[in-house]
């Protein structure tokens, strides 16, 4: 069995499973947030009763992150619903807004807070839940109704996915990042190229990536339609988790010779800094082939592009330079935000580098404009701004305005483009 199959077999109490099997899996962690949590809670109460108790309060993690710094009354009401439910059910892993426990983007906060363990089943009411495959877990996004069911039972009906394995050979050159890898793969296979499948990422290049970069790759498995993205746990995984205080690790790896649907091999040193053009993540283009595209805005943030690795890369480009367009910096989590002050390049903090480069004031951590949101959302588009962004989706209207085209790129490429005011291959500035 592959790693995905082994995790699902164990979670369903079976000796083995095969792609296509329908199983009831035991859930280790259910994640929800302010956009889908209230609906999932509504389903739970409707189906199990107003006085029902959740299956296990310690396995439910609630991380409000989407619409936090807004005056929108319903958005604020939704956080009140989460807070009341956490209190009522004794859910201690609730990271409340306006308190020191507030975290920010759930996909980065979940592993930061030690809620991700290899070999476990994690479901969340957000399509980018698949991010956690980077640490060797089976993780997938679900809707409110399934989440309401999990709240009551701790179980989920799953079809075992076949595996597509992507072997990335060679070492990643310094001008490339995880985003360049995943945008290239999605460009090749299309936005439905991995529908219903597990995307497993392996090879020397993946082994050489840190945990955050692996998260960037697994995060965007959903942009190829995958059920989950996964990297087998190794020393990098174990040391990341150990530093986070995660104990009793029971990593699962696939059997040698396990059957997969397809193996695709790449030599990453042939890859190039790239963008995904509007309006699909699969619209691959080499950055240097689009260097005539003028941009109005650069955006660095989100689960896939707002981690400390992302800001270190961007700051390396911006250090001693000025940005030519309005540039938004949105750390994913409070931990990333504080690292912007503590991490330094040449003795200068990343915050200082961004400030001196002329970026907008650093925003508090949240999903912010990655998905548009209420009208007063930080960085949201309202007109026909051309945006280059380190986020994960460039659908029509994704960042707010239907008329604002979005180019996705690595933090290095976003930073280089911010400096030049046009799409720029970071090698021009490295």
């Amino acid at each position: 069995m592959t790693i995905t199959e082994k995790i699902l077999a164990a979670a369903s109490g079976k000796a083995s499973v095969e792609p296509g099997d329908n199983i009831w899996a035991d859930v280790n962690v259910l994640l929800t947030h302010d956009v889908c949590g209230p609906g999932a809670i509504g389903v739970f109460k409707r189906e199990f009763g107003e006085k029902a108790r959740v299956w296990n309060p310690d396995r439910i993690v609630i991380i409000p992150d989407h619409y936090i710094f807004t005056k929108d009354e319903k958005a604020r009401r939704n956080i009140d619903i989460l807070r009341a439910f956490a209190a009522e059910q004794g859910i201690k892993h609730y990271y409340d807004v306006g308190t020191p426990s507030y975290k920010g983007v759930c996909h980065v906060a979940l592993p930061e807070e030690g809620h991700v363990r290899p070999g476990e089943v994690i479901v969340g009411t957000d399509s980018h839940t698949c991010t956690r495959g980077a640490l060797g877990a089976f993780a997938t996004g679900i809707g409110n109704t399934d989440a309401g069911f999990v709240l009551g039972t701790g179980k989920i009906l799953l079809r075992v996915p076949a595996t597509l394995r992507f072997v990335l050979n060679g070492r990643l050159p310094g001008y490339l990042m995880a985003k360049d890898i995943i945008l290239r793969i999605i460009g090749d296979i299309g936005v439905d190229g991995a529908s219903y499948r597990a995307m497993e990422f392996a090879g020397e290049a993946v082994a050489g990536l840190n945990a955050e970069e692996r998260m960037t790759i697994c995060n965007m498995a959903i942009e190829a339609g995958a059920k989950n993205g996964i990297v087998e746990p190794d020393e990098t995984t174990i040391s990341y988790l150990t530093e986070r205080g995660v104990k009793e690790l029971r990593p699962v790896i696939g059997d040698p010779g396990a059957k997969v649907e397809r193996v695709t091999e790449y030599d990453v040193d042939s890859f190039e800094p790239c963008v995904a053009e509007p309006h699909l993540p699969s619209n691959y283009a080499r950055a240097r082939d689009r260097n005539d595209v003028k941009i109005d805005r650069a955006y660095l943030g989100s689960c896939t592009g707002g981690k400390i690795t992302d800001f270190l890369a961007a700051a390396g480009i911006m250090n001693g330079r000025k940005v030519a367009v309005e540039t938004y910096i949105v750390p994913a989590t409070a931990e990333v935000a504080s690292s912007l002050d503590s991490e330094k390049i040449g003795g200068k903090s990343l915050s200082a580098i961004f400030r001196e480069a002329g970026c907008m004031d650093i925003a508090p951590p949240s999903c912010a404009a990655c998905l548009g949101g209420p009208a007063d959302t930080f960085g949201r588009t309202h007109g026909n701004e051309v945006v280059i962004s380190s986020t994960n989706r460039n659908f029509v209207g994704r960042m707010g305005s239907k008329l604002a085209p979005i180019y996705l790129a690595s933090p290095l490429t976003v930073a280089a483009s911010a400096v030049n005011g046009r799409i720029t291959d970071p090698r021009e500035l490295l």
């Binding site: 319903k74 679900i142 409110n144 109704t145």
Partner: protein, 180 residues
Amino acid sequence: MKKDIIKGKVYVLGDNIDTDLIIPACYLNLVPTIPEEYEKLGTYAMAGLPDEYPPFVRPGESKSEYAIVIGGKNFGCGSSREHAPVAMGAAGVRAVVAESYARIFFRNAIATGELYPCESVDRLCDAFRTGEDAELDVAGSSIVQLRTGRRFELRSLGSAAPVIEAGGIFQYARKTGMIG
């Protein structure tokens, strides 16, 4: 399978209709299980489509005139927001007929029982025009274009059929004894 015959106007879309098109993120402050917000979501169904598309729900109306949405490949890609099938269902849509689906949209459609996610064998988004009438026979796996009388075959619902037949994931779990 319920003996469901759905007769009504179709709204035709193409490939990769993402959930931001179906329900833009600015409306995700609405909670689908609150009845008045469920209805409100329906009024915003397909509000993310570019402005050159015909309105899906006419201004001032609470329901769509379209009972069936026809799509191409990978319908419902993107976010896990259940608001997407819910908004369509709340607008009065009974079924989507597409060549293929993104996994989470398909799952949410059947888990909620909001609408039937039917898969066509042919590329129906090239054969149908928005506003024309069709008759969809879910159990009989076919859709008829009333203008021409052409009948198009739909794929079997496969392993999702028992959940769709039960009317959603809770009904299915009760029927199979998974929950009381």
